[in-house]
Symmetry: C2
Subunit: 483 residues, 2 copies
Amino acid sequence: MKPDYTFAENFPSAFDFVKASNSQAVQQLQDFIRIPSVSSDPKKAKDVKRCAKWLAQHLHTIGLHRVRVLPTGGHPIVYGEWLGATGKPTVLIYGHYDVQPAEPESEWKIPPFAGIVRDGFIYGRGASDDKGQLFTHIKAIEALLKTTRYLPVNVKCLFEGEEEIGSPNLLPFIQRNRRALQADAVVMSDTRMLSQDQPALTYALRGQVALELEVHGPDHDLHSGNFGGAVHDPLQALCEVIARLHDRTGHIAVPGFYDRVRRWDNSERSYLAQAGPSDADILHEAGASTAWGEQGYSLYERVTLRPSLAITGMRGGHGGVGPKGVIPCQAIAKLSFRLVPDQEPAEIEQLVRRYIECITPPTVRIRIKTHIHSRPVLLDRKNPVMRAAAVAYWRIFGRMPVWLRSGGTIPVVSQFQDVLEMPTVLMGFASPGDNLHGQNEKLSVKNFHRGILTCMAFLEEYGRISQRTRKQGLKPAGVQYAD
Amino acid sequence: MKPDYTFAENFPSAFDFVKASNSQAVQQLQDFIRIPSVSSDPKKAKDVKRCAKWLAQHLHTIGLHRVRVLPTGGHPIVYGEWLGATGKPTVLIYGHYDVQPAEPESEWKIPPFAGIVRDGFIYGRGASDDKGQLFTHIKAIEALLKTTRYLPVNVKCLFEGEEEIGSPNLLPFIQRNRRALQADAVVMSDTRMLSQDQPALTYALRGQVALELEVHGPDHDLHSGNFGGAVHDPLQALCEVIARLHDRTGHIAVPGFYDRVRRWDNSERSYLAQAGPSDADILHEAGASTAWGEQGYSLYERVTLRPSLAITGMRGGHGGVGPKGVIPCQAIAKLSFRLVPDQEPAEIEQLVRRYIECITPPTVRIRIKTHIHSRPVLLDRKNPVMRAAAVAYWRIFGRMPVWLRSGGTIPVVSQFQDVLEMPTVLMGFASPGDNLHGQNEKLSVKNFHRGILTCMAFLEEYGRISQRTRKQGLKPAGVQYAD
């Protein structure tokens, strides 16, 4: 393994600072996790706001300038910058301080918002996704500023509070602030490595259409004895609809759904087979004994090259312990379609809505709400920012990263591509088994530490590489916010 | 309408007492409702116990003897008796002080356990089912004992705390206490009238098999992006199973399910059509615009002569507000099969289990729990106890009751029939629209009052009628409890 001294040669005191302040950084991350910033839960809106303030305060403390908590139509955006590297390129660091819901909390062995370290892991909702990973950049900047008073590139930090609900207010924000957010590249850490010691650069993300289906029947809950057999139970009707969303071979049954799905050539599929996780790896991580899905594709291909539909939640009638003799007046299901190039979210939603209307029995009424629209993404693997990230991983982890596709979705990536036209690098530090979105989410303390060092190395490498390749430009201007 | 004076002639002072103490009786019922005795919820076990004690204390106060709170394997049974009517028959009064769950409480316009009177109705979970109806008997006994110090018959009161979970501990209790519970007839008020002013005697109840289906997939919740398409979502699998429990014509698809369903002749079906609620009545009460179910049967027949299956609850993944990118590791559905003569619960459960095992996809595991087993019931309409009840209604409501079938289930009725071989009368005071098991359950103050008077009239009428018809017997013995 490549030792750390290469790095230490360049920033010996920053390296020492990270080493010496590691336990303090972990404690700060624990505090960060303890704020339950669940963006989807209106009852947690105050916590989300508190979390934004905490983060802004922290950015101020480490020495960033023009730190702001910027209101949006939803949860606020936290911004801070350091533009003192005259003549150097600018990196936009993106992250999100909001988290997924943690229910059912009873299934966590460690409470999701306790922020507890055990057996070398920091546990808690957001430990990996994305508080822990976002924090690696902050701690890297802090170490450099505290020891050298300087950064090798200019940085603009943009941390949002709505990633887990599809970033509904980010696109208008970046459209309004297109010039202020201009940078040479975007970096974000919200993805996974291939394994604990094998870093990876993610170059593909699936898109998403998340919908909520409400089935309405009688206008109030009914006694299941007095009415059972005479009215259509909304839960039953909902099951009947959902059962028809897949055919018997595991394909999504919505007509036209696969029309725009890109076919990949053998070289891409061979690379996936060679570099990516095996079927056994994926089943092991899932804790599942049996695979499921489209024949003719490996599991890695099924979750990356191919679109999918998961039923992510259902609710209706009596969900508590024991029986209850009731026909509920309504039933709800949440659907998450993951999309691949060249599927378009708006078009897919229309196809799905049309099909569901067709298959809904006339004995109930259906309503469909849209939660998330996000386009699938393919990143340019040849951009200098990718090279800088690869070298940074190599310097800290002693291994070159592999190229990975992710089945997940980071809405902002396609928005950055479409609006700001900036190259993006996804430099993840989470590992398989960290259980993002599930119970007992965690991040290894060791990789949190290596993540900080990698972020430092990345800033240095990008300053060096882009020096040679980027077009000459003016010193980046400070941020001017649109109204 | 037949005026009340006939009754007043017999018990003028008791009648006055009921009239004078009516608002006090309502207040006591409000207190009774305020104890959230939800038998299915383990967290409410203390409330159930508290409710039993409250009820026992009340029985003691009104003058019953040998009042006990008797422990069972589950929630306690409350017992009290008055055996001072030497040479007169004995009536066993059954009721239940437990209630259905009230979730989602946010959908009640009046909190379910506030016990509030508004616009002539007592609102709250249990107002009708069964606290309010049980209370009519208690208040009738109180009025008679307080004014005449005497009852026209002997009474044994048996109030259980597990009716809403299928009375799992009542059968062993009555088997052990067969002799102690011996009586000439059983009366219970846990059913409905045809309308607010048209009383009814229920002579048929459906049985029930209540099951809980658990579908297990991966061993923890998964990220729906990282795993969507590679593992079988347990919620999807559960929907696929449930969708196959009915065929397209609304029949239950379980092979053999209808084999023992009794066919009724035209005279029974004509009586139902003439005396029972119309399709429009049932849809109006349900607040539903469209009927559903088996062709060839009226809605009243579908909910009484024919068996049914309702999905009474489902739970899995994220049931809260907004989206969550998760594939849940398990999903749960609650099924309530309502049975008719001559279906047997144990046999039906076996058929259902076998069928579900057949249709469960190999990519998930399924577990089935049994909640309730209860046999369907047909009561003897010619028994003197029925006549006594009919005359009592006529005296108070001014109308003879109609014969009704109920789609609901009262497990104890078949148990009393099978073990104690006693005739039973179901003398209900709830009305359509009281929304038993649903939100905003209520009971009209007027019918609560008329119910008390009817219960008094019933005791008197039964004393009189049975005098002429019953076999000569010894003075009923006091209760001896088995170990």
